[in-house]
């Protein structure tokens, strides 16, 4: 972006502006684009969700405003804007106002490190992944503030639940990413995507295989389990069914949003859907190769000719478009899965949610981290790390052994944990023997 603007201002118009001004303009421009993209994503996602879930229920869904009802979210947005903004008398006015803003702002920040396509990343941080999750944890503050400021039991309860849920499920989410980070050795999102080029297993290191862009981490046992755990945690972070307890309408009316109306309410919705989009996007990026896919690498290879080492313009553009298409398709597919899950399941109770997070998901992801270490040790390390016995193996052999071991370990861990967890659920259930024995003896 900097180059383009620099070219435009200093070469085409010949204004000779200093570099800081140009970079300021470039950043502002990118930021503006992102700020525009986010609400549009939200509008489309709400429409998409309503249509999809309606079809799952043998209905049609919104189809009156515009072609196929495409403008329904616009109409809803206009309604939101024109609604009266009600601030309860007993509310803390300023905090009540700041709450939704603090919830929305981090979701916008998170766009900063999101790669849309090859080379299309606003800010390639070398700790992009960490940034993503660090920023996402900020919105908890906003939830807390808005729940408290509303001065309403339901709102406070909803905020407490939301924050507890977010904080709890951040751990499995980060742990499952940790496994991937172990494998890649990098926290840069762009780097992560580049490592998923190749065929099937990127670290297999088999020569002569064409770049099909299918070296997605989800195809490894480690990556698959991490993906499952991460997606479940993402459902909880994005407050999607079956973890939408903070806004459980059958219990605590609308949670922290109870006392909000008009555009402030809309901001919560915006934040929620944008966050959902981002979570889907990051799932697609980390486990499904982001813009990687069959054809992107090939197009790039075509672009580079001896005469033009930087790449041919047309092929570059084509590759970029294909990459963006892959990325968006994957992202929307995951959003569809979210909708699908919402269409199929009921909601957990808050204590069951916490149980599931702490007693099932976290141990599972911890085991997965161990698997990842085994994987890295067998496929990457060698004598220098004390694994001299693998030195003699062929690369394919190393890869195969690692695959089998991690697969068995993960399956065993999953079945073991599932059994322990469901037994714990059963035991807790009908009669509490401990209590009964104590009380019988008391009498």
């Amino acid at each position: 972006m900097y180059d383009v603007i620099n070219h435009l201002i200093n070469t085409v118009f010949g204004l000779g502006w200093p570099s800081w001004a140009i970079s300021l303009i470039a950043y502002l421009l990118v930021a503006t684009i992102l700020f525009l993209v986010a609400p549009f994503q939200m509008l489309f996602l709400t429409y998409f969700e309503r249509r999809a879930i309606a079809q799952m229920q043998d209905r049609i869904g919104p189809n009156r405003v515009g072609p196929q009802g495409l403008f329904q979210p616009v109409a809803d947005g206009v309604k939101m804007f024109t609604k009266e903004d009600i601030v309860p008398d007993a509310a803390d006015k300023w905090v009540h106002l700041i709450g939704p803003c603090v919830v929305v702002a981090p979701t916008m920040f998170m766009f900063a490190v999101l790669p849309w396509g090859p080379g299309m990343v606003p800010l390639d941080m070398n700790i992009g992944l960490l940034f993503f999750f660090a920023i996402s944890s900020v919105s908890a503050v906003g939830l807390m503030a808005s729940g408290w400021a509303s001065n309403n039991k339901f709102a406070l309860l909803g905020a407490m639940r939301a924050v507890a849920q977010m904080v709890s499920y951040e751990i499995p989410a980060v742990l499952s990413l940790l496994a991937i980070v172990l494998v890649t050795g990098s926290l840069s999102i762009v780097d992560l995507i580049h490592q998923q080029a190749g065929l099937f297993i990127s670290s297999a290191d088999v020569p002569g295989i064409p770049d099909l862009g299918l070296g997605w981490f989800v195809f490894t046992p480690v990556g698959f389990l991490a993906f499952i755990a991460f997606f479940i945690a993402a459902l909880a972070e994005g407050e999607r069914t079956p973890f939408d307890i903070p806004e459980a309408d059958s219990e605590i009316v609308a949670g922290y949003m109870t006392e909000y109306s008009g555009m402030k309410f809309g901001l919560f919705y915006l934040a929620q859907y944008v966050l959902n989009f981002l979570l889907c996007a990051i799932t697609a990026i980390i486990f499904f190769g982001g813009w990687q896919g069959p054809g992107v690498g090939w197009l790039y290879a075509q672009a580079i000719t001896p005469t033009n080492p930087d790449g041919n313009g047309l092929f570059n553009v084509l590759a970029g478009m294909l990459g963006v298409f892959y990325f968006l398709a994957k992202t929307y597919f995951f959003f569809f899965v979210m909708v699908w899950v919402r269409g199929a399941y009921a909601r957990l109770r808050i204590d069951q949610l916490m149980d599931f997070g702490w007693k099932f998901l976290i141990p599972l992801t911890l085991v997965n981290v161990i698997s990842a270490a085994i994987w890295v040790g067998l496929t990457k390390w060698g004598a220098a790390e004390g694994l001299a016995f693998v030195e003699g193996w062929a690369p394919l052999m190393r890869w195969g052994v690692a695959f089998v071991i991690t697969l068995l370990l993960n399956i065993a861990a999953y079945i073991f944990l599932a059994r322990v967890y469901s037994q714990a659920q059963d035991e807790r259930a009908r009669l509490d023997n401990e209590v009964l024995e104590r009380l019988t003896n008391v009498a």
Partner: protein, 369 residues
Amino acid sequence: MLKTEELQINIGPQHPSTHGVFRMIVTVDGETITDLKPVFGYLHRNHEQIAEVNTYLQNMPYTDRLDYFNSMANNHAYALAVEKLVGIEVPERAEYLRVLMVELTRILNHAGALGFLINDMGAWQTQLAFGMREREKILDLFESASGARLMCNYFRFGGVARDLPPDFMPRLKDLLIAMPAFVDEMERLLRENEILLQRSENIGILPKEVAISYSVTGPMLRASGVPYDIRKAEPYSIYDRFDFDVPIGAVGDVYDRILVRIEEMRQSKRIIEQIIQQLPDAQGGHINPKARQNVRPPAGDVYARVETPKGELGFYLVSDGSLKPYRYKVRAPSFINLTPLGDMCRGYKVADVVVILGSIDIVMGEVDR
């Protein structure tokens, strides 16, 4: 040690999951319920006194409005009571038509009730939409037979208002093709689902002895393990001619209530199939031509009850020999099934209250009367 205070909260009267205008005063210790008092009467319209100023036939459409999900079953109970009081014979064909309608009602009620129950657990209406879809089909049939979808007002003393239209039977047969698929699908959605198991298993247990002493009826009683079905216990109409099973639960929790309702839909379908077989041989028209609708029963009292989808619906009628009932008492299943709500919820979490209430399957029109 951490201490929690007891706190009283009101759930309702205006709350998304109280199934109407219904209030629960809940005392909680942390999240655990120590006491729950149901409060109702917001829909009270003194139905019984309205009935005392109407003639017997004029009450028929009012019984529709008791439990508006199952107007046919309500009509049946009332028609049985008046026929018993006056001594009206019902032709065979009319009996078949009655049982057909009532069993369809049972299917539609359970389809809806399960959907609403899962909705209370937080599902986003999918199960409800599936249930409602089947319900709408049955309502279409009701509409073509009786003229209305909900307030059918189809039963008359000595029969039913009119015979089936010609397109009824083909559509009914179509419906019976869809019904097993629908029930299986519902079961697949509900039975093994881990989330649903967590939310319903061992929640709101009502043990057998307690259920009996609480006079609980219908699927709730059977889910507690008491095989008491009025269709079997005191066969009315022509229920002694059909083969069907009585499903009972083993534990008496919400999950058992779900399973019992699913199985009852299957059994109702069995009865309907038998009706379709036997109907062509049935004698008599849709109504006893000798039966006067403007009845003037002799002085006396009568109690007649039927097994509605929600439980025992009874009408206690006292006649003084005039055109209007002297006393008209409704023994409403939803009303009595609500009695153990407080005890059932004790010791569970706040979020479970909604589920337990949903599993009772109440209709406020019947509770408040």
